[in-house]
Subunit: 357 residues, 2 copies
């Protein structure tokens, strides 16, 4: 990618933003330049530790750190722009869906009081336009979980205590806040992670007060669930999606002293059953139908969302199936996102085609 | 790769050969130009079908084809050069090991009678310098299995009937020859593959008389075995090694109507147990020790082999452990080939390092 290609124009209505498509020195991917010239910095990638005890000791030494739930959804940054809340995806696109929903999810009051506020949310649930996985504690639709605050024009994060105070004062829903720990408390964290595995929670993010050090960790059950969620997309996802999670699983079992034999069947099922179901569905219908649903307040937002999804589709065919008003007063959009590669590959193979591998 | 880089000089003793490092129009990778200018054509890549019935019908229509065992070893081409047999690897390197052994494995008589003869062998067994997998029917050391014949200076293959006659006349050991079939005989082939799965045989290669059409197929058990053999090399092998075999497994089960649930535990074990063993070994010793053994007639061949392995090592550290004369009169070489990436990755992770994935 040449320097010139690193940024591109993106529009929301008639407003023109510039987004960073890739890291650019100190400016991370997903950074957005607002029409007034200020920068909304991209949310940084968080390093993953695969050995909890060693990882915490290596990253925080004897210093305290905050532990917070890592929620399995999609990451957006919300700002107030021209009197309205506006949400940007991790990649720096204005998100028609989140922007439509966020007015009802969040009060504008904290933004009135802090005009530079950037609220970082994970949006999760069985009905989002972006995620196939959903935390079990969101039973329908989607919900926001705030996990960080930034300021427009400034890299870095609002101090955690200020962020927590802000959320409490304005009743902003957050991810589970587990409190302050240090590396010597790792046994308490193992216990929380064991509970999280039971509850189907994804993992934990560890942050120091200023957010200058952050790492994440996910337990064995999450790797298994990720593999099962990804298996139907075997031909679409990078192959490393699978090998990374396999390594995470093996290391998590090694650290916690669990016998790998006890996880073998679950691992095999996670990989093989969803993939086999896709193949059977393909054999029955000749195609792979993958659908997602989500709800919006306006019909316009749903149509804008479809346009956005087609733009970032990465070889998936996005097709509207239905858009109807529900009893909850929201527009219910159902769309297909057919994975072109697996579909094409299965068609080739079931027609007797050969591959050079 | 520019045109210039496609070929390179390789030496055997003082003799200089040119090998093709990549496909070059009609000249396949692994082609070798002999010092007298003639070409030893590379062994072509064989397409893989993942649906046996459809694949045979698509590739052979109603025409007959030969079915032969696919043996799990390494592929070499043997010629007679300056009164001696000389073996080249698939990549076109003169192979010190195979060249040393082949004089005792094969009579030179067929080469005297056919000076242009190129004999294509799979060499397999628990002790080869290249392969971690071994067919269960080779109990020690290594053995050659002829599966094709070519002629120096000519692309393409000797007709199968002539190849079979040659092998019979000179007692050349071959892969199992299963006979002549047509696509309608697929049920007989399913039965053979079921037996092959029991016997731990890798699969079947299908070829027409002139070898202008060739495809290969491997059953479910082979995909599982491949995954188990590859799992300790999770960080060295391309991630697609794993996803390809997972897809092969799922498709083989779908075609033969086997319940994926019945294979889940075996799949999980194939992936997780060897990887977990590597991790435990790393935790015990701080490194990953991977060794191979092989036997040669001369000490010189063993040392030449080590030099060759270092040249093609692909980031593995090759280290001689021992080279001693056995009671069988052969030199027994044991060498380590430490996988640098997984070793480095585990060291990083067990020191608490983070990864961006």
């Amino acid at each position: 990618m040449t320097k010139k290609d690193i940024t591109e124009e993106v529009f929301f209505g008639s407003e023109r933003f510039i987004r960073w498509r890739d890291d650019d020195g100190a400016i991370p991917r997903g950074t957005v330049q607002l029409p007034d010239g200020r920068l909304l910095y991209g949310y940084p990638r968080i390093g993953r530790i695969l050995h909890l005890a060693q990882g915490l000791a290596a990253h925080f030494g004897q210093d305290p750190f905050w532990a917070e739930e890592k929620v399995d959804g999609y990451n957006v940054r919300v700002i107030r722009w021209r009197e309205k809340l506006l949400a940007f995806t991790r990649g720096g696109f204005p998100c028609p869906y989140t922007t439509d929903r966020v007015h009802h999810w969040l009060s504008a009051a904290p933004f009135h009081e802090n005009p530079e506020l950037v609220l970082c949310l994970e949006v999760a649930g069985p009905e989002t336009p972006y995620a196939d996985a959903s935390p079990p504690f969101v039973h329908e639709d989607a919900q926001p979980f705030a996990f960080d605050a930034m300021r427009i024009g400034a890299p870095g994060f609002v101090p955690r205590k200020d962020f927590y105070a802000l959320c409490e004062r304005f009743g902003i829903p957050t991810v589970q806040r587990l409190g302050c720990f240090c590396a010597a408390d790792v046994d308490r964290l193992y216990a929380i992670l064991a509970r999280y595995e039971q509850e189907g929670r994804e993992g934990i993010v560890f942050k120091n007060e200023m957010g200058t050090r952050m790492v994440k960790y996910t337990p064995a059950a999450t790797s298994l669930r990720d593999l099962a969620v990804g298996a139907p997309d075997l031909a679409e996802l990078p192959a490393e999606y699978f090998t990374n999670r396999l390594l995470r699983l093996a290391l998590a079992l090694a650290e916690t002293g669990k016998a790998p034999e006890a996880y073998a069947e679950a691992l095999g099922k996670a990989l093989l059953l969803p993939l086999s179901e896709e193949i059977q569905a393909f054999l029955r219908t000749g195609k792979l139908k993958r659908t997602r649903c989500c709800r919006t307040h306006t019909k316009r937002a749903a149509l804008d969302l479809l346009r956005h999804l087609r733009r970032v589709a990465h070889g998936r065919h996005i097709r509207k199936i239905s858009l109807v008003r529900g009893q909850d007063g929201l527009w219910h959009l159902t769309f297909a996102h057919e994975p072109a590669s697996l579909s094409g590959l299965l068609h080739h193979l079931f027609s007797g085609g050969a591959i050079l591998d």
